[in-house]
């Protein structure tokens, strides 16, 4: 075993740097700096994409969640009174957009079949008409992230997955994750610990 906890993230310094960067972008964007606005909105969409994919596990929702993050951030920028709280606001917005998106899906059939497609020679519509090719985004994602890690993340209960993704991958602090999820800070730490143990087990089993 190596000596010392070299995984320790310098939470305070990196957290402060990210907050300062967001604060600078918000300030400039609010005063009409198009470049700052572009960078802020692109970043908001990237957050939305990663969250849709890694936490919600539905790449097909990502486009809509990105759009929601884009519009809400654009509307929100000029009224931000606490730039240091922007990141928490953004992740809360994205999380809610993912949840709403899923709720809208409840009751929808898993596959839609066009009336113009899939009609057999006898006039019936075969049940197995789904396009089995992997969607383009899935192929992109395969090249982006270790498939073992993605599979292991999918095995976690959603609230554990959300905590581990926001803490380990998005670099949010325990306090920020607590604010976004509504869990206490102690609960966030407990979930992170259990999520790490579960992830480890799934990675070993893979």
């Amino acid at each position: 075993m190596r000596a010392g906890p070299d995984t320790a993230r310098s939470d305070i310094s990196s957290d402060d740097a990210v907050k300062a960067e967001y604060a600078g972008l918000i300030k400039d964007a609010a005063t009409g700096d198009r470049d700052a606005m572009e960078r802020l909105l692109i970043r908001a969409q990237e957050v939305a994409y990663r969250f849709s994919l890694l936490v919600c596990g539905h790449p097909e929702d990502a486009e809509d969640v990105m759009q929601e993050a884009l519009l809400k951030t654009y509307q929100h920028v000029t009224s931000v009174s606490h730039p240091e709280a922007f990141r928490t606001w953004l992740y809360t917005t994205v999380r809610n957009a993912c949840l709403m998106k899923r709720r809208r899906h409840v009751g929808e059939p898993k596959n839609f079949v066009s009336l113009e497609r899939g009609v057999g020679t006898d006039g019936t519509i075969p049940l197995d008409v789904a396009d089995r090719a992997r969607p383009p985004d899935e192929q992109l994602i395969d090249g982006w992230m270790d498939s073992r890690l993605r599979a292991a993340l999918r095995e976690l209960p959603p609230s554990y997955r959300m905590v581990v993704v926001m803490r380990e991958m998005e670099g949010l602090s325990t306090k920020e994750v607590a604010t976004i999820t509504g869990f206490s800070e102690a609960n966030v730490k407990t979930r992170l610990h259990r999520a790490r143990l579960m992830l480890r087990r799934h990675l070993e089993d893979a």
């Binding site: 995984t7 939470d11 909105l41 692109i42 969409q45 270790d146 581990v164 991958m169 480890r200």
Partner: protein, 85 residues
């Protein structure tokens, strides 16, 4: 090898240890325990590796096609607002 009760205490504190939240004395206790307890040492190393894998994955930029889509959406939105005046 340390008694299992020590292992339980180690297990409970591993994440705090990896996150640098323990004081030097507590870190030393974990490191000392692990020197004589291969299962705990393997667990600490395994979790460290898992955390590293997550953070490494997070540092990879999104696929260029996704980033391009994001840039295009932003420009469309901003251009539309410029046209509106």
């Amino acid at each position: 090898m340390s008694p299992p009760s020590d292992c339980k205490a180690i297990l409970a504190n591993i994440s705090a240890y990896l996150d640098g939240e323990l004081d030097r004395t507590a870190c030393d206790a974990i490191e000392q325990h692990c020197q004589g307890c291969p299962p705990c040492a393997a667990l600490v190393d395994g979790l460290r590796e898992t955390v590293g894998l997550c953070r490494q994955a997070a540092s990879v930029p999104l696929p260029e096609a996704v980033r391009q889509r994001a840039r295009d959406s932003v420009r469309r939105l901003l251009d539309r607002d410029v046209e509106k005046g």
